[in-house]
Subunit: 542 residues, 2 copies
């Protein structure tokens, strides 16, 4: 069965650049265009040449190899010819294969905002398209406020689409500019439009102001449209545009669409989508949405005990698509909610062998639940979980014990009268029965404690020289004075491995120290450090 | 025209508790139940009594006043009677008005996972409903995998709904457990279900794995269902459940729904939705989604350009609903001029009078931008913002100055050999030229500093006796060793007023102390405390 071709139009670099908090540099734009080109979208809209120096410069050279590089602009102004409109000419001078011009299609806006007659507006659409086609550009018209316009004056909104197509535009795009149109309305209105203009010339540009950006795009396709406009990770003005990172897997993997339509994104590109989505957030220097459909870290994560055992038996029963198809992976989380199956799966994942029938596994399960009730969060602290499990199963040597610690933070005027804050820690540990005392200064109290603890661990010192703290997170579990503090610490070694540990206490310093000690112990365990003398003695029954 | 009643079922505390990274304490659950009760949802599902200590304790007392407090459980097990099933009895013993039991409705799962016949499963549904109804509970059955089950065996999936309703269940809920069902499929399948069971007995439970949680819920309502299950901010397993924070405004504000349906959420409650959504994220100690439909900080934000001036002329042209209707506000992210308008609006809000032409306002604007770049967040710290503004405008007296402080945390063995951690602080302040030195012990270092600082402020002491710390939050702004710590402290007085202050530093103790000092200063300002002697002297030019 031959499938119809569906076209993807990416506007990350144009509408996405309207996102509050997002500012693309020229380098960013070049990088993103390359990502999109590799992904397999059909059009990359790069910005508005002439509107600002970055966009003008970006359009001074071709930036894509496969996708059509597209310039955005406005239809020509009233009262001058296309060749005399500097804005329009600026767009046509850009190094672009396609041009997309925004036009008004709501009668009220034509009269009020442009101050011209409805007929004059149609004339401007035609002249703009003709000028662009004459300049050799594949041409599209974005009909702004198309759905609101249709509700106010259906025949005029449709006339705008017709004017564009009759004048030679490849595409007429229906924009839900305010994002306020429901799925039902989109379906009905697009069906009407597809009765006037061929569906294979219609595009949909949806926003997410009602959480319907994706649903409205799919509804438009069902109703006949054949171009979808969207952005990576749903970037865009206000709540964002239709999210291509969500739409692409649905179009590729769901039979309802995959059997009818073909898009230019390959299976291999699909399998790199999670990575691409996260790289893009890295580039924007913002945390990735862990709950994003398909590509989020948690998109295939499950806590529920009843679900976990079923997933292990047959993944398809609780996963609507295979995580690998979008380059993601399954996560089974240990928690309050989970049962023994989750626990066993997690033990396997962190490399701890255990037998379902071993009574110590039940003790461990009860212990995990009890400690999570106290505020521990093992799902985010694999290393502390592995230590807890190995201890319950009797497999963690006593490398060292902490006798005492002391940390002091002092703010005072220094000798030259400046206000300074000094943090200083002293830690006393016992290794092989021998007390070792160390001190260090740090940026803050936790840094000082960390440095002091790792300064001298006797014969274990060689095993921890490459240990480094990379992240420190604090959460207060209850407000007010009876607050419990939970600290998560991420550490790495020199070989690119990283692990996370957790500490919980009413005292933030205690909680931090607990997580630090777990981190060091975990490192010793990984490095295969030999057990301490006292531990050996105990093991021999001494 | 009479409107049909549509029921909202909140599962934030049950399915939402499955969210990776979310762990509700008992206190959290009590607070969230109160929030939901105030919002006007019809059912608050609180968890699974008997499954873990937190949920069992949570159900030991009624937790809602208006909404029906609902316990979740599983249908009775095979091979034993309802009265002999401890799980089922545990649920029926809970202090709940309603019970919701999950049942299998996919034939494959019944045979494979439960290992019983299809007819036996229907019997278990019936018996469970009968036992729950007999115990005086409003009863519902959650049909797990209903849509996948329908696709495999339509008549059996429908038979499960029928069995529940025939046995006396108030609701039979169709769950898209894996979140893999499209809008079109939901519409068609719910229409079939509504032909077998009355629509006013049907509920929809949708997930967001394809970004369609909201759209699928709305499609089910169009097709006849009259109960929507969802969560605050879309919490829930994997990608989350249908987001009630998005659905409620659509149901209340969009004519397509508002003209046909009535929900129990009042206009006033709707107008507090943005605040509620953000408070909930605060409680979870996670950053709010700035791009969330309706309630996100950026949901009505527009960057400089063609839209901004049009919005000022006629907001409805670029806003699909009025921001105030959901308690949100318009943000115009324009250049320096617009920044100034924003600042003046913020100053008015916190009660600081300022003149647009005053050059100190420009200095303040630059200062706010600079400090926000350092990590300060004045959006969430009104009191620190008011102090910063008043200082820039020369209107904060010098009540006291901090000469130095010192805090020590020590863990050691006490006289009877127990391991204890002691926190002790010393603070030296100057009031009216006179040094005052105080010391205090606390649960942790910040508590000790807080107690020491407020122990003796000389003649200002009477103004701060009723001051109390009610919340303390920490966020690390960059990972690793160069991490910046941001501390937010909420304080109250005896009169029910509360205010929030912020401190930022690489040292967590410094950051905390800064926020503490701001809180005390703000209290003195509010209480109308007289300026200190040194400050008066300076004011007189001495």
């Amino acid at each position: 069965m031959t499938r119809e071709r569906l076209y993807l139009f990416d506007t990350t670099l144009r509408d996405g650049a309207q996102t509050a908090g997002v500012d693309f540099t020229l380098q960013d734009k070049i990088l993103v265009a390359r990502l999109l080109d590799g992904l397999g979208v059909d059009y990359v809209e790069g910005g508005f040449p002439g509107a600002n120096p970055t966009d003008t410069e970006f359009f001074s050279a071709p930036r894509t190899a496969r996708a059509r590089f597209t310039a955005f602009g406005m239809t020509k102004r009233a009262g001058r010819s296309a060749s005399n409109d500097p804005g329009l000419q600026g767009v046509l001078r850009a190094e672009a294969q396609a041009c997309c011009f925004v036009a008004k299609s709501w009668d009220f806006h034509v009269v009020e905002a442009l101050g011209i007659s409805l007929e004059e507006n149609l004339g401007q659409i035609r002249e703009t398209v003709e000028a662009s086609v004459a300049a050799g550009r594949e041409t599209m018209i974005d009909c702004e406020h198309f759905f609101d316009g249709f509700k106010a004056n259906p025949s005029y909104a449709l006339a705008c689409l017709e004017a564009a197509i009759d004048a030679g535009a490849r595409w007429a795009v229906m924009c839900d500019t305010n994002g306020g149109t429901t799925v039902e309305e989109v379906a009905a209105i697009v069906a009407r439009a597809a009765g006037v203009v061929p569906g294979e010339r219609l595009g949909i540009h949806a926003h997410d102001d009602m959480g319907l950006g994706v649903a409205n795009s799919l509804a438009a396709v069902r109703a006949g449209a054949r171009q979808i406009q969207g952005t990576l990770n749903g970037l865009g003005e206000r709540c964002g545009n239709a999210n291509l990172t969500t739409l692409i897997p649905t179009l590729k993997l769901k039979p309802e669409f995959a059997e009818r339509f073909e898009i230019a994104v390959s299976d291999e590109a699909l399998a790199s989508l999670s990575q691409l989505s996260r790289s893009f957030d890295e580039l924007l220097n913002r945390p990735a949405n862990r709950y994003a459909p398909y590509v989020g870290v948690n998109a295939f994560a499950t806590k529920a005990g009843i679900h976990a055992s079923a997933i292990l038996k047959n993944p398809r029963t609780y996963e609507h698509v295979p995580p690998e198809s979008v380059g993601n992976r399954r996560r089974l989380l240990v928690s309050d909610q989970g049962g023994k199956s989750n626990l066993l799966a997690e033990l396997a994942r962190v490399g701890v062998e255990a037998d379902r029938g071993d009574p110590r596994v039940d003790v461990l399960l009860a212990l995990v639940k009890e400690r999570e009730a106290q505020g521990y969060a093992y799902e985010g602290a694999d290393a502390s979980f592995a230590l807890l499990a190995r201890r319950a199963l009797g497999r963690v040597p006593d490398y060292f014990s902490v006798e005492s610690f002391r940390v002091m933070v002092e703010r005072r005027h220094n000798a030259v009268g400046e206000l300074v804050t000094v943090s200083e820690a002293v830690v006393k540990v016992v290794v092989d029965g021998e007390p070792l005392i160390t001190a260090a200064e740090g940026i803050g109290p936790v840094n000082a404690l960390d440095l002091a603890l790792r300064k001298d661990l006797g014969r274990y010192q060689p095993f921890i020289t490459d240990l480094k703290l990379t992240d420190y997170k604090v959460r207060i579990l209850n407000g007010g004075t009876e607050a419990i503090t939970r600290v998560l610490i991420e550490s790495t070694d020199g070989k690119g491995e990283s692990w996370t540990t957790v500490g919980v206490s009413p005292n933030i310093i205690d909680a931090s120290f607990e997580a630090l000690v777990d981190s060091v112990t975990y490192k010793l365990l990984r490095a295969g450090a030999p057990a301490g003398a006292s531990s050996l003695a105990e093991a021999c029954g001494a």
